[in-house]
């Protein structure tokens, strides 16, 4: 062999042509759906919001007060302290999302459940809860069965009473001859509840009871002040109390808590301040300067009026209220059932043929078309149980059945992700299975369970077919007020506009506006789920 080393020209080339083509095909496949949907959404949003109808001055003002400062601060933070920017964005997002949800809650308090009824049931629940807490304190002196029986009896007597002999607590509260006005009730009921939470949060944060009391009183005072301001400005004070307690106070508490504890990131609150004040200043400025905003179809009138023969006057209000009531019913039914089934399947069920059969079928049920669930609801609730068609209760029950498999599957995922180390530690301490589930598995899995349930509710809120099947009315002119009243929902109303009232006008005005509102609600729900999930993942 030659002893001297040869120099070579190069190593040659290996063709990657097929690989490159494959890569871009895959990219195309990834983008296809997203881009198609994005184009549609741009069209819909354009129709609904009509951004081009606005005065150029309007854009100029908002650019100067909101976009430019926010971009500057945002870019600066993005370069120096990304975590701070995330905190600031989260505060803005929290405000937006809580505003939307508390707006929904305001509909509940103003038009669906009279505040006095809410108050009466709150009192009716507080009394038995207090009794149960008291009993838990002395639990080693009271036998288990007695405690269970007593708990059941206390709740039943408090909420239902004995008809004819003894009034339930809600009935008694509602019979009190002198009651405060509605906004006072809401301020103390909702504002009080929120204040207690805020107070506890700050007391824990500062490890100081006084800080908690101050924060709680401030929260309650803020709620009261906003409500009173409604008396002078003509805005419904009840709605103002709900929105303050549901959106402003929690956002402020979150921002305040972050400012106290996260020294490194607190500068990000500047971004939130710039965005919020920029928007407020811009709104005032365009009003003063007389620049007209876009002729959006999604406006106050659209959100607060019911269907009308003309697209310009049509609104979504009864459908929004209906969707809220449906979602409450669905959550109340599917959460306990779904989480219960998930806990059973993960923690208790033996691994045998029967369990595996159930496993496979739950996965299959998640894929059953929604119209089939509608048929199930019609068959079981209407035909078999003889309920009236199209009520809140059977609509909610049908949608709950629809999302039950999704709730079960996602809850099982969350429960499975609890490390088995922790279960072992608990069993090793001599815990029973129930104690382990209650003290270790469920608290650890809860954020995941909640995330899955919210995403499943997002599926339910957009369903149309099952509601049509169970005979929900397409058009409703007033809000449903109880579980047995007829209900409509946002997707159903949009469907009605595009089918029963099909005309150019509805296609280009009411339908896109309805779609935008529905998607906004959906996005808000999903963003809550995503924030929860991220928080959960970063902690574990």
């Amino acid at each position: 062999m030659a002893t001297q080393s040869d120099t070579i020209e190069g190593f040659g080339q290996v063709s990657r042509r097929a690989g490159i083509i494959f890569r871009y095909l895959l990219m195309g496949a990834t983008m296809f759906g997203i881009v198609t949907l994005a184009i549609l959404l741009v069209y819909v949003a354009n129709d609904a919001l009509q951004p081009l109808t606005a005065d150029p001055g309007w854009y100029l003002v908002f650019f100067a007060t909101l976009v430019a400062p926010a971009t500057l601060v945002g870019a600066y933070l993005a370069r120096t302290n990304l975590d701070a920017l995330k905190l600031g964005a989260l505060v803005v997002g929290t405000l937006a999302v809580t505003l939307m949800f508390s707006g929904g809650a305001a509909i509940l308090f103003v038009d669906i459940v009279p505040p006095l009824v809410s108050l009466s049931y709150a009192v009716g629940l507080v009394v038995p809860f207090a009794a149960v807490v008291l009993m838990t304190k002395y639990e080693d002196q009271i036998p288990f069965t007695v405690r269970v029986a007593a708990t059941g009896a206390i709740f039943f007597l408090s909420l239902f009473g004995i008809p004819g002999y003894y009034h339930s607590i809600p009935e008694m509260v509602q019979k009190i001859p002198v009651v405060p006005t509605e906004w006072v009730i809401v301020t103390f009921l909702l504002g009080g509840g929120v204040s207690v939470v805020v107070g506890l949060y700050f007391a824990r944060l500062r490890e100081n009871t006084r800080a908690g009391v101050v924060a709680g009183v401030a929260a309650l005072a803020a709620t009261g002040l906003f409500a009173v301001s409604g008396l002078f400005t003509g805005v419904n004070p009840t709605a103002l109390a709900v929105v303050t307690a549901g959106a402003f106070v929690p956002t402020a508490a979150y921002a305040g808590g972050a400012a106290l504890t996260r020294e490194h990131e607190r500068v990000g609150l500047l971004f939130a301040a710039v965005v919020i004040f920029g928007a407020l200043v811009g709104a005032v400025a365009v009003d003063v300067l007389g620049f007209a905003g876009p002729q959006s179809w999604v406006d106050w009138q659209f959100l607060t009026s019911s269907h009308s023969g003309t697209a310009e006057n049509a609104g979504l209000y009864p459908a929004i209220g209906g969707s809220i009531l449906l979602m409450i019913t669905v959550a109340a039914l599917s959460f306990p059932l779904g989480v219960g089934a998930a806990v059973y399947l993960e923690e208790y069920a033996p691994d045998n043929v029967f369990t595996r059969f159930i496993d496979v079928n739950i996965s299959n049920l998640a894929g059953v078309p929604s119209v089939v669930y509608g048929l199930l609801g019609l068959g079981v609730f209407v035909t078999y149980l003889g309920q009236a068609t199209g009520t809140v209760l059977i609509g909610g029950a049908t949608l709950a059945l629809l999302i039950l498999p999704i709730v079960i599957i996602s809850s099982r995922e969350a429960i499975r992700s609890v490390p088995s180390d922790m279960r072992q530690a608990s069993y090793g301490m001599g815990a029973t299975r129930w104690q382990t589930v209650k003290n270790v598995v469920l608290p650890e899995a809860f954020p995941g369970i909640l995330t899955g349930t919210i995403l499943a509710l997002g599926r339910a809120i957009g369903e149309t077919a099952p509601l049509i099947m169970i005979g929900a009315p397409n058009v409703l002119f007033s809000l449903p007020t109880e579980l047995s009243s007829k209900v409509s929902a946002m997707p159903l109303q949009v469907y009605a506009w595009s089918s029963l009232f099909a005309s150019e006008d509805f296609y280009t005005k009411a339908v896109p506006a309805g779609v935008v509102v529905l998607l906004a609600v959906l996005l808000a729900m999903n963003s809550v789920a995503i924030v929860l999930r991220n928080k959960f993942e970063s902690e574990s």
Partner: protein, 296 residues
């Protein structure tokens, strides 16, 4: 009896305290000083036997994990179990508090007594058994709760009425963790370092004052400093508890244990004797090969 009723019954019995006679029915306390315990260790110690295994066999499905294990573990001592991976030493440890019950395919035969009562008898409630036999695992596994809540967990689930603050301080002191965490008892146990977490797990296990403490390679996931802290701790704990410790580390076994059991592949207990004898003059050539590093 459904699962729920069963756990309710356990809770009720726990409420009346661990010294309840019903518990003693489950685990009859008898003194076992019938000469056998003395002869087993060649007459070197005269301590009472607390755990006695007689022909214990364990299967995972069709695979036999332990073969005819017989040994006697004396009270208030440290017994180490060493051997190569997969030799069944952890399996044996988990037989003592019936943690193997949690594995569907595991099957145990033979007699394994704690203070003379076979823990595999039908009338033994494994939950009641585990309340007397604490366990520390290989990987530190504190609950995602505060340090305080971690320590009182056992007291709460067992319904033991005690001054929690006192128990927390006492247990953390005995686990040599008090000085490091006394100012942050209400912070999460997961914020501690690995060694601190493991000492927290030990504090959690001794808070309920068990009779036996099982440790499954408690230092294998820790750095040398944390390991030596755990070793010191184990030696101290042996004054009040019977400690059974599984370890991969032969020096560790030699340092801290009074007696050593050597398991070899196939789930066989090859030799069980005073630690000094095992390490200086083992009977079996296979044990000598393993200890000197020729095998395993």
């Amino acid at each position: 009896m459904s699962q729920k009723d069963k756990s309710a019954a356990v809770e009720t019995s726990a409420m009346t305290g661990t010294e309840d006679p019903t518990n003693d029915d489950m685990l009859v306390q008898t003194d076992v000083s019938d000469g056998l315990s003395a002869s087993a260790s060649g007459g070197a110690t005269r301590a009472k036997t607390i755990i006695r295994a007689e022909d214990v066999n364990v299967w995972y499905g069709d695979e036999q994990a332990l073969q005819n294990i017989s040994m006697e573990i004396p009270e208030n001592s440290v017994t180490a179990m060493i051997g190569p991976s997969g030799c069944g030493k952890s399996t044996f440890l988990r037989c003592i508090n019936r943690m193997n019950d949690l594995i569907d395919v595991a099957r145990v035969e033979g007699k394994l007594s704690l203070r003379g009562k076979n823990v595999y008898d039908d009338d033994v409630d494994p939950v009641a058994l585990r309340r007397r036999v604490g366990m520390v695992f290989q990987k530190p596994n504190p609950f995602p709760k505060s340090i305080y809540e971690n320590v009182v967990y056992g007291l709460k689930i067992q319904g033991i009425d005690a001054d929690y603050d006192e128990v927390v301080e006492e247990s953390l002191k005995r686990a040599a963790l008090w000085d490091e965490v006394k100012d942050r008892l209400h912070e999460s146990g997961l914020d501690l370092s690995g060694g601190q977490q493991q000492r927290l797990c030990i504090a959690r296990a001794i808070a309920t004052d068990p009779e036996v403490l099982l440790m499954d390679e408690p230092a294998s996931a820790l750095d040398p400093v944390a390991t030596s802290q755990i070793e010191d701790l184990v030696e101290e704990l042996a004054e009040d508890y019977t400690v059974v410790i599984v370890t991969h580390n032969m020096q560790q076994a030699a340092r801290i244990s009074d007696k050593t059991a050597v398991f070899l592949t196939g789930g066989e207990l090859v030799e069980f004797d005073d630690t000094q004898k095992i390490f200086e003059n083992p009977e079996s050539d296979r044990v000598e090969d393993y200890i000197t590093g020729k095998f395993g």
